[in-house]
């Protein structure tokens, strides 16, 4: 059971009212949220400190221009309390970043919501934005995930925020347009809401409803994984999938987990002397230029896969249309499973690579 703030206006207005109260009473110093930046509905993430500017926020817009964990990293540690309204996978991404000392939870109050998925950037940023978005919200009043969201969203089982201070019910909430329910999950959130005059009730999330959504998402996952099933052994399958990779490394730059300022694969370690290439050519008859296309993908998987939160940014920015995210999510889940690890679940949990157990993978030893 959690304490729930109930307001009799639609969910966006209710949240806005709460935020306006907190900001004007200096309970918080700013709000980080998606906000509308033009008449075509295009959104970016903003850090808003002025009460009047809060009206531009679109906290539930089904789009992810940047994975918000990147932005949270850049504005933390915050010296004064900030409310961040982000999607469940962005929150998990931030938790993974904090574990890697790339951000701090200090003074960050997280608001998240049950997420129906995000639309690919090109779908959201189209001339039909208004129609597409209203259809989206109509669909997620029920338990079906809209067909046009990112492929990984259709397969996402973690649509309920794991560590949010405040949770809002969006996906599956038929009263989304008439009522506001802010679920206060932590002491920090309850303390913050004390000065806010409102009706507070004890309430629990509708487990039956959530289970129904989860069941459908699990089926979605099965379908997605079947689509990207490995049918050939070894490298051949990788060559088939990643053969069209142009090596732009956009996937790694937008990834919330890939935080390195300079990726190893862009470092001079991979500038080969021409005699080395010529020597390899003499043994192989043909060499791809630039080299290391598959090596980069495998290396990145190796570095970040067990922390992959399946947000889908990599796939959205891939100019070659490779289903990067679907593959990384699948591989990531298998690697994380080996360590009983769920990325973004608990900020206190240690990342598997940071921990050594004497008895680990004995079968590999054999």
């Amino acid at each position: 059971m959690s304490k729930v703030i109930k307001i009799d206006i639609n969910s966006k207005q209710g949240l806005l009212d709460f935020l306006e109260h907190l900001l004007s009473n200096n309970e918080i110093s700013g709000v980080m949220s998606l906000r509308k930046i033009n008449e075509n509905g295009i959104c970016d993430y903003g850090l808003i400190t002025e009460v009047d500017d809060l009206k531009s926020i679109e906290p539930f817009a089904p789009v992810m221009p940047v994975n918000a964990s990147h932005i949270l990293s850049s504005i933390t540690p915050a010296k004064k309390p900030i409310i961040a309204i982000i999607k469940p996978c962005e929150l998990r991404g931030f938790v993974e970043r904090v574990k890697r000392k790339q951000g701090s939870m200090k003074n960050i109050i997280t608001v998240s919501y049950t997420c129906g998925g995000v639309l690919p950037l090109n779908t959201f940023q189209s001339d039909d934005n208004e129609k597409i978005v209203s259809e989206y919200f109509e669909t997620i009043k029920g338990t079906d995930t809209p067909e046009n969201v990112r492929p990984v969203c259709k397969a996402c089982e973690h649509f309920i925020p794991m560590t949010a201070d405040i949770t809002i019910s969006v996906f599956g909430n038929k009263d989304f347009n008439s009522k506001s329910c802010l679920m206060m999950n932590t002491e920090q959130a309850i303390k913050l809401s004390k000065s806010y005059k409102c009706e507070i009730v004890e309430k629990k999330m509708d487990d039956k409803l959530m289970d129904e959504i989860l069941k459908k998402r699990k089926a979605g996952k099965e379908k997605l994984y079947k689509e990207i099933a490995i049918t050939k052994d070894g490298l051949d399958e990788f060559v088939d999938i990643f053969g069209k990779c142009i090596g732009c490394h956009g996937c790694s730059r937008v990834c919330p987990i890939c935080y390195c300022t300079l990726c190893d694969f862009e470092s001079s370690n991979y500038d080969y002397k021409v005699d080395l290439i010529e020597n390899e050519l003499s043994q192989k008859d043909g060499l791809r230029l630039p080299p290391d296309t598959i090596f980069f993908q495998l290396g990145r998987l190796n570095h970040m896969s067990f922390s992959c939160i399946g947000c889908g940014q990599c796939e959205d920015v891939c100019p070659a249309g490779i289903p990067v995210s679907s593959i990384f999510k699948k591989v990531g889940e298998s690697t994380a499973e080996l360590f009983d690890y769920i990325p973004g679940k608990d900020v206190e949990e240690i990342i598997p690579v940071m921990m050594i157990k004497e008895q680990e993978f004995p079968e590999v030893g054999e």
């Binding site: 850049s74 004064k80 008859d285 043909g286």
Partner: protein, 383 residues
């Protein structure tokens, strides 16, 4: 450009002829290896392959319908650390050759042992279109090449207004604009001449008809170019318009990493030098009432422009790689035409001409003094 070339008639298509030419060169030891585009195993794209086995040359497609990786980048990965011992030839699109020449000036490519071969380019199909329909696009592009169609509307937008589709300082050039089942092999440099000599090919054919054919196509493209630049100009005029044009930008920097000229291992705008502390960002937000992310969208675009526009070859890779469909290449092409004109420089047209930023003249851009002066007096009026 040379005035004479060797003429070859062919029956089985131009690309076959080009492959045969390379194979002959390899057999005679003129080249030890070649770098050519080969369709990837899944058939949905092309990759640059360095090959020394003559039998693999048959798998290559010297005039591919797409440009997944700009050829200059392939040569950079091969020769960034210096020249090797193998004599290597490559066939690339004219803008790839021009980018290569710019990279050579920037010491990122070593052309000592490389022979650059190019051709009259029909353009490239946008990657997103090719990727999904590769087999159809292969057939379509084959027709484009065999029909000598240099004005197909299916190509990348920059190709539609590329006036330099034939003009390129390559060592050897395959010229076929307006010809039927014939091609001129044109030596533009000493390197090119010596290849033809070793093949005992006489470059004695007069090229005036071909040049006229090229000029005719150029006229059409020039007109397109004027039209496109007219469209682009108001979208980048002043900071407000620039901001509007780039408001969709998500700061992924794909444009920069796909760009053949942006060779920095780490872009300044990705470095810690351009990072601001959390406190600074919050302070700015408090001062302004709010800030948007990613930060420095315009700063990055303008910064990149000022770094590379003098060497921009308008290849369109940036636009192909943009996940939010900003017409980056049209903008950069327009701005570059302005900056390059200012210094009477054309990117990639001559290996000998130094990049303007490397040349200092005592008397240069005197107009700027006036602009600054005027701005200063404007400023004092406001006070």
């Amino acid at each position: 450009m040379a005035n004479n070339g060797a003429k070859i008639s062919f029956k089985n298509g131009l690309q076959n002829q080009m492959r045969d030419f390379l194979k002959e060169c390899m057999k005679k030891g003129i080249f030890d290896a070649v770098v050519l585009p080969v369709r990837v195993p899944a058939n949905d794209s092309y990759a640059w392959i360095l090959m020394n086995d003559i039998s693999i040359v048959d798998q290559a497609n010297p005039i591919p319908p797409v440009m997944p990786v700009q050829g200059a980048k392939a040569l950079k990965s091969l020769t960034r650390k210096g020249d090797g011992i193998l004599k290597i030839a490559t066939i690339m699109k004219p803008c790839e050759i021009r980018a290569t020449i710019e990279l050579a000036k920037l010491s990122q490519v070593n052309l000592e042992n490389i022979t650059l071969i190019s051709y009259d380019c029909p353009g490239a199909i946008p990657m997103s279109i090719y990727n999904n329909l590769s087999d159809d696009m292969e057939i379509f592009y084959n027709d484009v090449v065999s029909e000598n169609n240099f004005v197909s509307e299916k190509m990348k937008e920059v190709c539609g207004f590329c006036v330099d589709f034939s003009d390129v300082p390559d060592d050897l050039h395959f010229g076929f604009t307006g010809l039927e089942n014939e091609v001129y092999i044109i030596p533009n440099t000493g390197k090119g001449n010596s290849v033809l000599e070793k093949l005992e090919m006489k470059s004695s054919e007069n090229l005036s008809q071909w040049k006229k054919n090229v000029a005719d196509i150029k006229k059409i493209k020039s007109k397109n170019r004027i039209d496109i630049y007219k469209q682009v100009q108001p979208t980048v005029d002043g900071l407000d318009n620039l901001q509007k044009t780039y408001e969709k930008c998500i700061g992924c920097h794909n444009c920069q990493s796909a760009c053949p000229i942006c060779y920095c291992r780490q872009c300044f705008f990705d470095s810690t030098a351009s990072e601001q502390s959390a406190n600074t960002l919050i302070d700015i937000a408090e001062k302004r009432g709010g800030i948007g992310f990613p930060r420095d969208k315009i700063m990055f675009q303008v910064g990149r422009m000022s770094h590379m526009s003098l060497s921009c070859v308008s290849c369109g890779q940036c636009m192909d790689a943009c996940p939010v469909n900003i017409p980056v290449a049209k903008i950069f092409s327009f701005v570059s035409s302005k900056t390059q004109n200012t210094f009477e420089y054309r990117a990639g047209f001559s290996g000998d001409e130094p990049i303007p930023l490397k040349v200092y003249k005592d008397d240069e851009l005197s107009k700027i003094h006036e602009i600054v002066k005027n701005a200063e007096s404007d400023g004092s009026e406001h006070e």
